[in-house]
Each structure stands twice: as structure tokens, then as C-alpha cells.
């Protein structure tokens, strides 16, 4: 078997790609310089400047940006399409894009459906009016689909913990010794092998699943805690507010890494402390759901009972199985449906714990602002209960900033998870998550670049996508 090159039979396109990227860089800088210079000139005449009718240098630079960007995107697309069709003939990139085929299909379907129904989809639909938001959403959904489909075993060609002898630190595109001709893409280590001779590409895909599993859920829990405490703190004020704010500031003043080191070490885990924190933190979603429904249906006891039973009974069973684990400090509950794998619960708890004070502060600030509005006064005059006002009058009106912050916070949580992995805290040692992989690879970084770079770039692109998505959402929600 031959080693694969990066682009295979499309290698003639590589100079063109680099050329167009260089042109893109140059034209962006030119455009910026020209527009600053032009802006200064225009403002000397008037605040807005007259619309240009003839081709200005600025306009030409803008055209250059557009054309070179188009060329670069076109070449990348050619690589992907060629790869999907011919696989390894397109080199490593071709083979990867063929393996990613389920992700491409899912992305295409999602974008097709969303764009065709975007007028009926509210804020989510409006996202597709903003190019920044769309790029961000695309990046995020790429990794989400990669994570989910990778967990269904549709992408990765190798087992992420399997070690193949002779593949230690091998460069990208190295064939596996003794692989048969009909093995297809699995005959190569597409992104090379790491220092334990495992496939970097497969670990990258499985690492996406760790992030997709933990980050959004942990952020959601942090929001539940922050909302349930922030609303009354802002609404009632007074002593409650002082006390809760003091607690939040206490956690916020803690350097994050110190907190992780104190919470996640095996000795502390043995005392059951993270589990006790989990008991408290994971109760908040239940409390939130219960209060939310009860405040709404309080006047209709039958509907109230029905809804509460429908939500709280499964919720309670899930809660108990989550915190209950055989062989740990909390193991009295008989109906344990699932066990969270070793260390994940601790990581989850510490991430929620670190994030919730910030959410609390945001919600409290928003509540302080919104509670002075007329519709809140109207609800108070109607005689609504405080919790109804908080959850059904104030919270829906605070949703814009909260959704934006939710996206940003998932990105922050992803970074935190990477930090935990980077220091080897909490997650099991063989875990394919990106932080651990970066940490494993950095020791030999001066000689072998390929093991830590793919997870680093993956993490970067996911967080970038979330930031762009948040930016797009903010822009679109402000436009209303």
C-alpha cells in the first residue's frame, strides 16, 4: 500500500488554493487600509460621504475580497465533492470527506429544510438571514453531527483506543502494515498515529462526542441553577439578594483551575463531596420545572396534577439514577437505570458549578431591569403570584440575551472541558476527548506535530462557530 498524500490526484489545485488565500489576505488588508483612509476623507466632507458611482480603489479591493474568497471556497468544495465520489484518489482530504459523508448529508438536509421554511421558524429562521450566523451555525452543527454520527459508529474507521503495532507516531496517510487491499479507507491512518499508535482521526471523531454530550447539557443545568436563583434575587431583592450575590461572588473569585484541582482529585471524589454537590445542583431543574408548571396551572388543579406528574415523576427517577451510583457514598436508591461512567459526573458537576454564578448574575441583572416594566406592574395589579410573574412574565422577555449567552457559554464550557483534559483531571486516561489528546501530544510536539494539532483545530473551530452563532443571533434579535 502506498502512503497517501494530502490531496492525491487533485494536487494540481493546491497552488491555486494558496494563491487565492494569499490574494484574499492581501485584498482584505488593502480594503481595510483604503476604507480607513477613505473614511477619514469622507468624514471631512460630511458624516456619511457621498455614494460612489465610479470604481474607487476601495470598491476594487472589495471585489478582490469577494472573488478570492469565492475561488478558495470553490476549490475546497471541489476537494470535498471529489473526495465523496472517489475517496482515497483525493488523498487524505478526499478520504476524510468520504468518511464524513453522513455528516455532509445531515448538514445539507438541515440547511435545505431550514432555509426553505425560514419565515415560519422565528428567531431560528432569521439566523439564516445573517451570513455570520449561518457560518457559525454550520460549524457548530458540523461538530454536533460528527459527534452524534460518530457515536453511532458511522464515521471513524478505527477503534479510538485500539493500538496497531508499527504505527507509533507515524505521519498522516501512512498505510497500516499488512492491511488487505479491500479494506478501503481503513487501510490507512488518515491523520497518522499518536504516541500510543492509535488513530488520530478516529480519536478526533470520538472526542467530538464527549464534547457534544457534556457541554450543552452542563450549560443547560448551569442555566437552570442560575435562573432559579437569579429570578428571585432580582425580583425580591433585599437580604435574599445580598446573600445569593455574596455566594455567587465567592465562587467567581475562585481561580477556576484551583477549584478543579480541589474538586476533581481522586481523594476528594472518595469523600463523595462532588456527589453531594450534584445532589444540590441537579435538583434545580426539577425545582424549576415544578415551579414553572405549578405557577401556570395553580388555578386548574386537575391539569396541574397531570402536568406535574408527567414531568416530575420521570424527572425524579432520572435524577435519582443520576446521583445514585453503586459503590459510592450515595447508593441507597433501588431503581438505578443508568450509571454515569467514571469521572464524567465529577467533570459535569464542576463545570456546572463554575458556570452557574455567572448565569445567576446575568439573570439577576435582567430581572432588575425588566421588573420595572409596565406589564409586570399590570400582572401585579391583576394579583398574579410572584413566581408566575417571574417565570411567565419576566423570563420570556429576557430570552434574547439569555439565548445569546447560552451559545457563548457552551463555547466557554467546551474550553473548560478542554482545560480539564489538558491537566488530566477527571476524565479517564484513555479518553479521546480533545483536551486530553492535546495534552498527550504536546510532549513530543517539537518532533511530531500531527497528534495534537487536529484536536486543537477542532476545538478552535467549534468554539469559533459558537461565538459566530451567538453574534448572528444577537444581531438578528436586535433587529426586531
Amino acid at each position: 500500500m502506498e502512503p497517501l498524500s494530502w490531496t492525491g490526484s487533485l494536487s494540481f489545485l493546491t497552488p491555486i488554493l494558496f494563491l487565492s488565500l494569499a490574494a484574499l489576505g492581501v485584498s482584505i488588508i488593502a480594503w481595510m487600509v483604503l476604507s480607513v483612509a477613505g473614511g477619514m476623507r469622507a468624514s471631512a466632507q460630511g458624516p456619511y460621504g457621498a455614494p460612489a458611482l465610479t470604481a474607487t480603489p476601495e470598491g476594487l479591493a472589495a471585489l478582490g475580497v469577494r472573488l478570492s474568497l469565492l475561488a478558495a471556497v470553490a476549490i475546497v468544495l471541489i476537494h470535498i465533492v471529489f473526495g465523496i465520489l472517489f475517496g482515497t484518489a483525493g488523498g487524505i482530504i478526499g478520504a476524510m470527506s468520504q468518511l464524513m459523508l453522513p455528516v455532509w448529508i445531515a448538514l445539507a438536509l438541515l440547511f435545505f429544510v431550514s432555509i426553505s421554511f425560514k419565515r415560519r421558524l422565528g428567531l431560528y429562521g432569521k439566523l439564516f438571514d445573517s451570513p455570520i450566523g449561518m457560518i457559525g451555525f454550520g460549524l457548530v452543527m458540523f461538530w454536533v453531527f460528527t459527534g452524534i454520527l460518530g457515536a453511532l459508529d458511522l464515521i471513524a474507521p478505527h477503534d479510538s483506543v485500539a493500538q496497531v503495532s508499527g504505527m507509533k507516531n507515524k505521519l498522516p496517510g501512512t498505510p497500516i502494515p499488512g492491511a488487505s487491499e479491500d479494506a478501503g479507507v481503513a487501510a490507512w491512518y488518515l491523520l497518522g498515529g499518536d504516541n500510543l499508535a492509535r488513530d488520530v482521526f478516529s480519536r478526533l471523531i470520538d472526542g467530538a462526542w464527549v464534547v457534544v454530550q457534556i457541554a450543552p447539557l452542563a450549560t443547560l443545568f448551569a442555566f437552570m441553577v442560575g435562573i432559579t436563583l437569579g429570578l428571585p434575587a432580582g425580583y425580591y431583592g433585599g437580604r435574599l439578594d445580598t446573600f445569593l450575590s455574596f455566594l455567587a461572588n465567592l465562587v467567581l473569585a475562585f481561580p477556576v483551575i484551583l477549584l478543579f484541582y480541589l474538586l476533581v482529585t481522586p481523594e476528594i471524589v472518595a469523600t463523595g463531596l462532588p456527589q453531594y454537590i450534584a445532589v444540590v445542583l441537579f435538583a434545580f431543574p426539577l425545582v424549576f420545572a415544578g415551579v414553572l408548571l405549578h405557577s401556570r396551572y395553580r388555578t386548574r388543579p386537575q391539569a396541574n396534577m397531570l402536568w406535574l406528574a408527567l414531568v416530575l415523576i420521570p424527572g425524579f427517577l432520572g435524577y435519582m439514577s443520576l446521583i445514585n451510583e453503586a459503590g459510592s457514598k450515595i447508593s441507597f436508591w433501588p431503581l438505578d437505570f443508568f450509571d454515569v461512567p467514571g469521572g464524567i459526573l465529577v467533570v459535569f458537576v464542576s463545570v456546572v458549578f463554575v458556570n452557574s454564578p455567572t448565569v445567576f448574575r446575568i439573570v439577576r441583572g435582567l430581572t432588575l431591569d425588566i421588573k420595572t416594566r409596565d406589564y409586570v406592574a399590570a400582572a401585579q395589579t391583576r394579583g398574579e403570584r410572584p413566581w408566575y410573574i417571574m417565570l411567565w412574565e419576566i423570563l420570556p422577555n429576557a430570552r434574547g440575551p439569555l439565548i445569546v449567552d447560552f451559545c457563548l457559554r457552551i463555547g466557554y464550557t467546551t474550553i473548560l472541558l478542554g482545560t480539564l483534559g489538558f491537566f488530566g483531571l477527571g476524565l479517564p486516561p484513555e479518553s479521546p476527548d480533545w483536551g486530553s489528546t492535546i495534552n498527550d501530544g504536546r510532549k513530543l510536539l517539537a518532533i511530531y506535530l500531527h497528534p495534537p494539532l487536529p484536536p486543537a483545530l477542532a476545538l478552535l473551530s467549534l468554539v469559533l462557530g459558537l461565538n459566530l452563532l451567538a453574534d448572528g443571533l444577537r444581531e438578528e434579535s436586535l433587529r426586531d
Binding site: 482584505i28 480594503w31 481595510m32 476604507s35 480607513v36 473614511g39 477619514m40 468624514s43 471631512a44 458624516p47 472589495a62 455574596f246 461572588n249 465567592l250 467567581l252 473569585a253 475562585f254 481561580p255 477556576v256 483551575i257 484551583l258 484541582y261 480541589l262 474538586l263 482529585t265 481523594e267 476528594i268 472518595a270 469523600t271 463531596l273 463555547g411 474550553i415 478542554g418 482545560t419 489538558f422 491537566f423 483536551g435 492535546i438 495534552n439 501530544g441 504536546r442 510536539l445 517539537a446 518532533i447 511530531y448 506535530l449 495534537p452 494539532l453 486543537a456 483545530l457 476545538l459 478552535l460 468554539v463 469559533l464 459558537l466 461565538n467 459566530l468 453574534d471
Partner: protein, 350 residues
Amino acid sequence: MALFILRRTGVMILTALCLTFIVFFLTNLYPNLEKLAKTEGNFRMSDEAVASWLDKNGYLQPMPVKYGQWLGILPGWRGATEDGITGRCITGAVSQEEADNAPRFCGVLQGDWGYSTRFKDSVWNIIEVRLGNTGYLMMWVLIVMIPTALVIGVLAGMREGSVTDRSLSTASILTTATPEYVSGVIFIAVFTSSTVGLKWFKGTANSAMTEPTIENFFLPVITIALYGIGYIARMTRASMTEVMTAQYIRTARLKGVSFPNIVMRHALRNALIAPFTVIMLQFPWLLSGVVIVETLFNYKGFGWSLVEAAGNNDIELLLGISVISVVIVLLTQLISDIGYVYLNPRIRIS
């Protein structure tokens, strides 16, 4: 103003007490003490031996008492063994008279920070040296970060929606999306490895502690600074765009003041109030950047000691480090509050 500072300082001391107690509590949980006993004494100690070792060294007193002694508001414990008298303020076993001469209180407040089992040195000496190293690193980070971030933010914010704004904003989003361990790894890969072959800088800052040069110090500084630049630049941009739509800017324009003059004279001062507090509030989070970068570049500073102390169950050093970092965080918060009041005439006068 004086009352405000007084109240803030009171809250700050309370917070510091709470936080140090939490750290003290977590590091003094029994499994941690058991590990300490085994590393200090003998790895094959039985459970009873561990308990008696801990008892002999004063670790089995009630938690608040131990905390009081560590803090220096309760007298240190004393115990009599066949060799003589041992205790918190006494090194080894000594005779009765020497014990009587030894100080009764010896805690953080008296300047006795304990002894590091990892570095075999007193905690205060270690912290002094390491904090100096980190301080030097932070100085350069701030020198690089603040001017760059402010210039980017002002340039982007002075003309909302322009090309400059959009490109600089995208660039700042990119840097905020790059945590230190990602940018550090990318920088090391591109600029130091033999594979790429640029070899402009060194991948380790080990020698930077004695003789810092651009070659060994640039990468750690830029790695920490980059993450902060994007964030501060975005805050500056937001504040700048808000100022640029204000009434007095419109008046200045109508008066015929030139655009550069408007930016420099009228907008800048008001736009820089918000970034000031943001920069101050960045410290807790620069601190975790420091831990990552010092580990990555093997620069033996404060963050590196934190990792070493936590990894080797060095309880007293860990406590000392947390006290220092908590105090730094709280002090910067206090400065940011006071600075905000001071800079903003609307609050200052009312």
C-alpha cells in the same frame, strides 16, 4: 467614597476568610490527610498507624480549630512525646523551656506560611520567588495586551459596520475562541518545531527565568495576551460604538470638528471607562491562563507551582497559593470598583 471603600474592604475580608476556609476544608479532608501521612511516613502504614501519625502531628483536631491555628488567631497545638514537646510552632521535639520560649501563635497572620513537602522549603520563600517570575510574565502580557486591545477596539468601534469594524471584530472573535492551550500548541508547532522548520522561537521558557530574551519569552507572553486581546477589544468596541452615537459627538460633527479630532478628543476618554473595569476583572481569568501557559512552556512561576502543589498533595503550599490568588482577585475587583466610581463623573458627584 470613604464609606464605600470601607464597606467594600469589609466584604472583601469576609470573602477571603470564606474562600480560604473552603480551601482549607477541602485540602484537609481525611483522604488527603491519609495520603499526606503515607507520603511523609511510610507507604505501607496500616490505618491505625495513619491515624496515630495524624494525631501526633495535630491533624485530627476539629476543623475550625485547625483553621484558627493556621490563620494565627488560635494558639498552636502542643503535645508531649517521650522525646520532648512537639507542636505547631516548634520544629521537631524540644525541651520544656524551649517550648515555653517558642511563640504561641504562628499562622498566616504572623507570617508563618508553613513548609512545602514538595520543594522542601518554606512556603513563603517559594511563593516569593515564583510570584516574582509570574509578575514579570504578567507585566509583559499587560504591556502587549492592553495597548493592542484598546487600539483594535477603538479602530473597530469608531465606525460601526465598516470594513475595518467587521474584519477586526471577526479577528477578535477568533482570538476569544482560541484558548491558551490551543494557541500555545499551534504556536509551538509553527514557530519552534523542526518539522515546519521556522524555528524562530524556543518551545520552552525554562531559560527565561534567568535571562529572558525575545526568543524564549515571546511565545508565552503572546499566548496569554492573545486570548485577552479579543475580549477587551470587543468590550472597547461596544463602548466606543455607544459613545460615537451620543449627542455630543453629533454636536461636535455639526460644529465641523474633524473626524480624527472627534475620536481622539471627544470620544476616547468616555469610551475607555468600561474597558478599564473589564481589564481589572480579567485578572482571575488571566490567572488560569498563566497556569496553562506556565505548564505548557515549563516556566516555573506561580501557576506552575499550583499544578505541582496540587499534583503532589502539598497542602500548605496549595493553601498559600490559594490565599495569594484569592487576594489578588479580590484586590483587582476592589480597584475596578473604585476606579469605576472615580472615572465616571456621574457616579462620583452624586
